[in-house]
Symmetry: C2
Subunit: 129 residues, 2 copies
């Protein structure tokens, strides 16, 4: 989450109706549709050439009793809910349980094939803005 | 800059040939074409809906003797140079001097008109990936 005091007025610098600052996305809490706290946004991956965000990486402390894990999610799977002050993931636990994920030290290779498999899992077209 | 020790193997998690992690972009040094240190990336602004990065905000400590200032730059104006370990801004000082910028506490409203003016200044089409 951004330190909103460091640049003066917060709304103008870290968020508008259209845009959000990268460092405000990081650390933001993630909820499921039932309002349960799942974890937070660890970071997100940007396509160097196009500047397109491919996916955000959620860190789930001990979600589902699986120990600390990282779940990459397509950007579009996250919806910001102002009333909760966090992102809502419109996925049930069953879907998340079977989703691509990894633990610290067991990261996959984040190549095109991995991105493709991620989008396939969530039923979203890869490479389409 | 990302703490690459916090997620185990660094290359796999914060950068690939195609992708770069948001928290690795932040804090990265920015140079001009002559190899002079200009400042660093403060953060970058992402379109909430599309996930498209609109611009990165450079913080220049005392660049040009103007005091601390922030210069938003279109994503495409930044090129990462592995040999320098930082971004190279392909702009001369004269262009940067006249560019849209602001100081802490004097932030403009980051609306569509501001984005448009920014892209216009750098001669890039706004809204085109």
């Amino acid at each position: 989450m951004a330190d909103t005091t460091s640049m003066g007025s917060s709304v103008a610098t870290d968020e508008t109706s259209e845009l959000i600052a990268s460092n405000k996305v990081e650390g933001t809490t993630v909820y499921n549709r039932q309002g349960e706290h799942l974890g937070k946004v660890y970071n997100f991956m940007v396509n160097k050439r196009s500047g397109q965000v491919e996916y955000a990486v959620m860190s789930f402390g001990d979600f589902l009793g699986m120990g600390g894990s990282y779940h990459p999610l397509p950007w579009k799977a996250l919806t910001y809910d102002p009333s909760q002050g966090g992102y809502v993931v419109d996925l049930d636990k069953r879907k998340l349980e079977g989703a691509p994920s990894y633990r610290t030290g067991e990261e996959p290779t984040f190549d095109r094939a991995y991105s493709q498999s991620l989008y396939d899992y969530y039923g979203l077209p890869y490479g389409v803005v």
